[in-house]
Symmetry: C2
Subunit: 262 residues, 2 copies
């Protein structure tokens, strides 16, 4: 029997603690092969950027005695494109992006390299999951890695997965006995509040530092923000048709198409 293949990537870089811990948990299972293609350095907040005007270097490296992987001088989305369209001969059976340092819930997933890598997987119709830990600093990823392994097992052994499956998983930074369970959630409206700090350089030229503050969001036990806050693991199925179907007819009237079409 051909072994299933899991493609690992992230946006914190190939040497990040999250991806190493995840690899260690997955490799102990042994029922799959694991490919690793990840940025050669931290690439957070790159959104769904891709590199089209520069060459992208790819180096096979042995990382900290743990795994061999491809270190890419590019974005998380670049890594996934390269893995699937250039480096390997076949598609992986599952893509896992993470484990990310910091939650990806609410509107902020639009900025997330972690989620964009998983999204890129679904564009190639590879079932994909993004996994993030609710702590902006490195912490103990052991439980999160074990949970992710269980999800991978469950998905890979449960028959066919739906087309373009994309799960955005966020894990509380708490000990296993404090975690209350798992919830399938919807994406909340949580957004960072942008704060800019204005400075002048020695020649009097202006520049800014961006410094986001976490904003509150509406509480609803079924959204990602609230589930995570209450120590539930949040799993949000996402998709990328952004059409605002509810308002199609509204805009047909509002935009006065008859007049515009004259």
């Amino acid at each position: 029997m051909v072994k299933k293949i899991i493609l690992l990537t992230n946006d914190d870089g190939i040497e990040a603690k999250g991806i190493k811990t995840l690899y260690n948990a997955l490799v102990r299972n042994g029922n799959w092969d694991i490919w690793i293609v990840a940025p050669d350095r931290e690439r957070s907040a790159v959104g769904h950027a891709i590199t089209v005007f520069d060459p992208i270097s790819v180096k096979k490296e042995f990382i900290d005695g743990i795994f061999c992987g491809y270190a890419v001088d590019g974005t998380p989305a670049d890594c996934v494109k390269l893995a699937i369209a250039a480096i390997f001969e076949r598609k992986p059976d599952l893509l896992i992006s993470g484990i990310n340092r910091g939650a990806n819930v609410g509107k902020n997933i639009i900025y997330s390299g972690t989620v964009s890598a998983a999204t890129e997987g679904t564009i190639y119709n590879v079932p994909s999951i993004a996994v993030s830990m609710n702590n902006l600093k490195d912490t103990d990823y052991t439980f999160a890695a074990e949970f992710t392994k269980n999800i991978a097992n469950l998905l890979l052994n449960s028959g066919s997965l739906p087309e373009r499956m994309l799960l955005n998983i966020n894990i509380p930074d708490a000990s296993a006995d404090k975690i209350k369970g798992v919830k399938v959630t919807y994406q909340s409206g949580m957004a960072f509040k942008d704060v800019f700090i204005k400075r002048e350089d020695p020649r009097g030229r202006e520049y800014y530092w961006m410094n986001g503050e976490l904003a509150e969001a509406e509480e609803d036990e079924n959204n990602d923000y609230t589930a995570l806050k209450n120590n539930y693991i949040s799993i949000t199925p996402i998709q990328h048709d952004m059409t605002d179907y509810k308002r199609l007819d509204y805009f047909k009237v509002k935009l006065n198409l008859f007049k515009l079409n004259e």
Copy 2:
């Protein structure tokens, strides 16, 4: 009466022909003030990247004798954040991102700096539109600019706009008499087919060039791809809740929450 304010930005850079032509069309109306905050150079395919680890320089410049604007050493999303949260004292009434060199339809809008700038506007609840021309090379933007001015007029004079309004407009590169009309469309599944060209540098290290090819998509007179192909102006209302609502219940069963929650 306080004049309405339009914020212009783009991803081709503050000196691009598209934004200059758009400004020239808008300024002839005179019923609004125009602010310009745009990247200091081309920032295509950056997706929704934001700059969080580096300072962002902002210079007020007089561009080609046409307009005064803020040139930002950052991404399109950075420009919008800076304009709204740092540079100006009040919110604009409408944000226009464009006119972009190249269409933004189908799945490719996820990579688009043009669309991400407009998305960022809606995060601040500023009604926003992205405008793109269906030609990857600079062309005559006069008709597109006039059309955009008419849309701006229509929107700003039609009473209150819906919360988080975001329109993705694509304009055929054809003379006015060849354009068949306007369609309110949904986002098609059109995606680039990624092609990587593998090279070696003089020291034998591998690198890749990404070279996307336009792929065909399903034809449906109501999607963005088909409308544009048939010389209609396509207007797709989009939104950014990516929750896959249709599959929430499916995943509740599939993920066997009872077991995971034990």
